[in-house]
């Protein structure tokens, strides 16, 4: 099975984010970057499918040069090769524009399966995989926790609200968006890290893919959220704050 995994590099989870001077995005200088969480699960699913059924795992990522480090991480975990869509203006493209870039890179590869994470931890749109399926003319299923290969295609387990699930049968080639938690993530081994250095990373520029980039939806401004509640912050040492909290819960909120 030839599997393409579309991954995204996002700011590290604990990164302190600041709004940039233009108020249109976050200040990216000085940020630490990481592989998007649900994309890590998509990669894991791909690697496990390859271990069971053989084939090839190709990672695909769009973004500026810094994305290279996340691509190497995926290669170190076991992906066979990578395609890097070098694109400095990813933020100016909407979800359709980004999916068009990915689709243009996926098409000539003719994969059996395309996996991606459910949503990114930065923009959180949760649309790229589904749009990608539409652009490739492939069936899809989203929020997938488990993938099984069958004689005719795939049987997948889809998460629904409030602890419900569904299984879905679909033919391949197909696109799946993977939810976190379905598998246990592996770490890159030292050997894997070493091997990754020699694996192929093909760089293709956004211009070479020649897709339309004019957005139909524009992020105009980012701002800090306004508080829904007036939060009383309890200062002091751990002991002082703990004592103050118990006092508040007992006599002010009266919940204990």
């Amino acid at each position: 099975m030839k599997i393409i995994v579309a991954i995204k590099q996002v700011p590290e989870r604990d990164a302190q984010v600041r709004i940039d001077a233009a108020g249109k995005w976050i200040e990216e200088s000085g940020l630490q970057w990481a592989l998007n969480e649900s994309d890590a699960y998509a990669l894991e699913e791909a690697l496990q499918l390859k271990e069971k059924h053989g084939g090839e795992v190709v990672v695909l990522s769009a973004g500026p040069e810094r994305v290279g480090s996340t691509i190497r991480e995926a290669l170190a975990k076991g992906a066979d090769r990578a395609i890097h869509i070098d694109c400095a203006d990813l933020g100016n493209r909407d979800a359709l524009g980004v999916a068009k870039l990915l689709a243009a890179a996926v098409k000539p590869e003719n994969p059996d399966l395309v996996l991606t994470g459910l949503q990114s931890d930065d923009l959180g749109l949760g649309q790229t995989g589904v749009i990608l399926a539409e652009l490739l003319g492939l069936p899809h299923a989203s929020l997938i926790l488990h993938v099984e290969k069958t004689d005719t295609g795939l049987t997948v387990k889809r998460e629904l609200e409030e602890g419900w699930f569904k299984t879905i049968e679909l033919p391949t080639p197909a696109v799946l968006t993977i939810q976190s938690g379905g598998n246990k993530l592996r770490y890159a081994t030292l050997m894997g890290i070493k091997k990754a250095k020699t694996k192929e990373v093909r760089v293709v520029t956004a211009a070479e893919l020649a897709v339309d980039s004019a957005p139909v939806v524009v992020l105009e401004r980012v701002a800090l959220p306004t508080k829904q509640k007036s939060t009383q912050m309890l200062p002091g040492t751990a002991k002082e704050a703990a004592a103050a909290l118990v006092e508040k819960l007992k006599f002010e909120a009266r919940v204990i």
Binding site: K166, P215, V218, P225
Partner: protein, 323 residues
């Protein structure tokens, strides 16, 4: 162009609560733009649902009906609504932001060269649509600049279902052309993962633990606090994903919805998927090392600091107070 269309979903043969919230959002958008708000129901038998919606202040209620729409599939629903919207040419289409909508609307919008503005929390003059970014740390304001319909989905709880105004709408039927071969996926009936033995929904006190706990070996620290309080232990998704606590203790959109008197969140940053599961709590306490964590936005009391110092101190203070 034909104004605003709200796509309504059913749950147990009734209009789902979040769908009423989407109708409220549609009416708000109607007030802002001066356009008429309408609703559409999709399925194999839509009379009942359409009747329910037709009692509201809407222009029209459309029944998009076909035998192949009995069960939801992304292919079936996309085809049906694409045909309907190409005929109606709406200015805006409003959906509830459900798992079903997330599954097909991005594809439907792309087919019409449009992009869904998803998980919207507020609609302002312009109209400008606000949604959360960076796991709730920031808000982003979006504008639609495309030439086709503007697709929007609204977050659960963001609009008030009880503000939907009553009225009388005209009901119409739309019959899409769908062939069985066009539906490429075959879904099963829905099922529960495992028998639930923990009902957090009725718990009065909940101590909930998140990623900040760092390691499975540290869970007992929080368990001790829960025990001291006489509280149930809950968790955010990553804790259950890692298998550190069973799935039945997960609180949030994919887990349980709770509304205790006290919700004490330890090391939980407060991503929206978690917040929707606990926002009905009467009193929320957040303990987190990051003063910018979004959980503080919805907390009544907050302590910024190292949970490994604060939680044991709090356990002691609770024990002392109970003596």
């Amino acid at each position: 162009m034909s104004g605003i269309w709200v796509v309504v979903e059913e749950r147990d043969a009734r209009v789902s609560r979040i769908s009423w919230e989407a109708v409220a959002a549609g009416q708000k958008l109607a007030a802002l733009t001066g356009l008429a708000a309408n609703a559409v129901v999709v399925g194999a038998r839509t009379v009942g649902l359409a009747g329910e919606v037709a009692g509201k202040a809407l222009g029209k209620v459309a029944r998009v009906e076909h035998s192949l729409l009995e069960v939801y599939t992304a292919d079936g629903f996309s085809l049906a609504l694409q045909q309907f919207f190409e005929a109606e040419k709406p200015d805006y289409v409003v959906f509830p932001h459900t798992y079903q909508v997330r599954d097909f609307v991005p594809a439907l919008a792309a087919r019409m060269e449009e992009v869904l503005i998803g998980d919207v929390t507020t609609i302002g003059e312009g109209p400008v649509f606000t949604r959360q970014l960076m796991q709730g740390r920031l808000n982003g304001s979006y504008k639609h600049t495309g030439g086709g319909p503007c697709f929007v989905s609204v977050q659960a709880g963001a609009f008030r279902a009880d503000t939907v105004q009553g009225g009388a709408a005209e009901v119409m039927v739309f019959s899409p052309t769908i062939e069985a071969a066009q539906i490429r996926t075959r879904p099963s009936e829905r099922f529960r993962g495992s028998a639930q033995t923990v009902d957090l929904g009725s718990a009065q006190l909940i101590v909930s633990v998140g990623r900040g706990i760092k390691d499975a070996g540290n869970i007992p620290l929080v368990q001790e606090l829960a025990t001291a309080l006489g509280a149930e232990l809950g968790a955010s998704r990553p804790i259950c994903d890692n298998g550190w606590l069973p799935l039945e203790r997960q609180i949030g959109s994919s887990g349980q919805t709770v509304s205790p008197k006290l919700y004490l969140a330890v090391g939980i940053s407060g991503a929206i998927q978690h917040l929707v599961g606990m926002k009905g709590s009467q009193c929320v306490v957040a303990i987190n090392k990051d003063p910018g964590a979004p959980i503080f936005e919805s907390a009544d009391y907050g302590i910024v600091g190292d949970l490994f110092e604060i939680v044991p101190a709090l356990t002691e203070a609770v024990k002392a107070a109970k003596q």
